[in-house]
């Protein structure tokens, strides 16, 4: 986000210095079309399945599945920890994998968290951001959802860090595909109420999701550290100042 904000800051009007207006979404009509398409498939397929999964599989079962999938992702997280030079976090990822695969019974449980080694996310999109690559124009794809060029590239490159890619290189892709589907269903099941609430409390669901995606990516890239210096200047922000009219600029 630093780069995006800094970029906006240089170009912005002085009163609203780092305004993020101008959403960098040149393909918005196409994106909105895919967004609606995804909502359609969500309504007829994913959401019912996720609701069913949420209702039928008891909580410990769902948590076991989540832990197992997270553990399976460790190699990708580790590779990206290392590429970002985050040695401590790399150590955490490696230890978590060791502990959860053995003590945690092939990753079904997460004893490492209880021992102070919390899970964190990493992917190659974040690595590119740490290396200074901007997000690029917003892109929303069927099935994948928000995937601006940087994060789409990250998604593809991450497949190369995933041992499953090589194990199933010239075999039927049943296992990787199953993982993708179960992961999607589980994530959807975990956001049933949240997404409903966001949809019903947005004046424009598409625009809200776009902003939420960008803000949460920025937060992930910064490893959860908020950069308070990058916040917009709000000192003279009122309706009642006598500033010259800057609207429509």
């Amino acid at each position: 986000m630093g780069a995006v904000l800094a970029f906006a800051m240089l170009g912005g009007a002085p009163a609203l210095a780092n305004d993020t207006d101008g959403e960098n979404d040149p393909l918005e009509p196409m994106n909105r079309y895919f967004f609606e398409l995804n909502i359609f498939f969500d309504t007829i397929l994913l959401k019912p399945v996720a609701t069913w999964y949420d209702g039928v599989v008891p909580r410990p079962g769902r948590d076991g599945i989540r832990n197992f999938l997270d553990n399976l992702r460790s190699p990708v997280i580790l590779a990206n920890d290392l590429l970002q030079g985050e040695w401590n976090r790399a150590g955490t990822t490696a230890s978590r994998f060791g502990i959860n695969t053995t003590v945690g019974v092939l990753g079904l449980f997460d004893p490492a968290s209880r021992w102070g080694m919390k899970q964190h996310s990493e992917d190659f999109g974040q690595t590119l951001a740490v290396w200074g690559t901007g997000e690029g124009p917003y892109l929303f794809l069927p099935v994948l959802g928000p995937a601006p060029p940087r994060d789409l590239t990250g998604f593809v490159v991450d497949q190369a860090f995933d041992p499953l890619t090589y194990i199933y290189w010239d075999r039927p892709k049943t296992v990787p595909v199953t993982r993708f589907v179960v992961n999607g269903v589980d994530q959807r099941a975990r956001s049933l109420t949240t997404l409903d609430q966001i949809e019903r409390t947005s004046v424009d669901y598409y625009a809200t999701v776009r902003n939420l995606y960008r803000q949460s990516r920025a937060n992930e890239i910064a490893n959860g550290e908020t950069d308070y210096d990058a916040l917009p200047d709000i000192d003279y922000l009122t309706f009642d100042t006598n500033e010259p009219d800057t609207a429509g600029m």
Partner: protein, 219 residues
């Protein structure tokens, strides 16, 4: 990244502080009290309102509106959420916008906060931001053992007291989210301000028909 931009901001804020100091003198400095105590008080009241099962949704919303009026700088939030379109509305539109935004915010947050009833908010730190602002960091810790949720409060002094400007929940600034959405609505309607008012009215109307309260109970 861009060292040039951060230099520019740094210089700008130094200049700003110097100007403020010149005009306000030393008296204005510490009038607003302890930001942590302020947030603690507001959060406690908010959780009490949301957790009050005896109250109807309408009563809850009214209590929440009072709380916001007293403790948030709603005018500044409303202005911020318009971004580049701050000067677009005429006086009548502006008056209606301010009213709609207040109602909208009340409805949105009574809904979104419904997950957090009966929980405790722990203040974990605070820092000054310039002359008249502060950031208070906190965590909502769940009795169910769910991962704690981090919440940052961005405060700004107004009339000698702190007011909430924005709240960050797990990395998301809520006023920034609103601004992004509001400006998109105006832009996609060719800069027509009434389009935003229509969207806000529609959303509030939906809420009043029970769409929002329905899911609040579901959560």
């Amino acid at each position: 990244m861009s060292p040039h931009a951060s230099m520019k901001t740094a210089l700008a804020s130094i200049a700003l502080c110097a100007t403020l100091a010149l005009f306000q003198g030393p008296a204005a400095a510490q009038a607003a009290g302890d930001p942590k105590a302020f947030v603690d008080g507001v959060a406690e009241q908010a959780i009490a309102i949301i957790s009050d099962e005896a109250a109807s949704t309408k009563q809850r919303e009214e209590a929440f509106r009072e709380l916001l009026r007293e403790n948030a700088d709603l005018d500044r939030v409303a202005a911020f959420a318009l971004g580049q379109y701050l000067r677009t509305p005429d006086d009548a539109q502006r008056a209606e916008y301010r009213e709609l935004v207040e109602t909208f915010i009340v409805k949105v947050y009574v809904t979104r906060l419904s997950d957090y009833n009966d929980e405790k908010l722990e203040i974990t730190g605070s820092q000054k931001r310039g002359e008249n602002q502060a950031i208070v960091k906190s965590e909502i810790r769940f009795t169910s053992g769910r991962e704690p949720v981090t919440v940052d409060w961005w405060l700004i002094e107004k009339d000698g007291a702190y007011k909430i400007f924005d709240v960050n929940v797990v990395g998301i600034w809520l006023a920034q989210e609103q601004r992004s959405t509001f400006t998109t609505v105006i832009r996609n309607n060719g800069g027509r301000f009434d389009a935003l008012l229509e969207h806000l009215r529609a959303q509030i109307g939906k809420a009043e028909k029970g769409d929002l309260s329905g899911i609040a109970q579901g959560g």
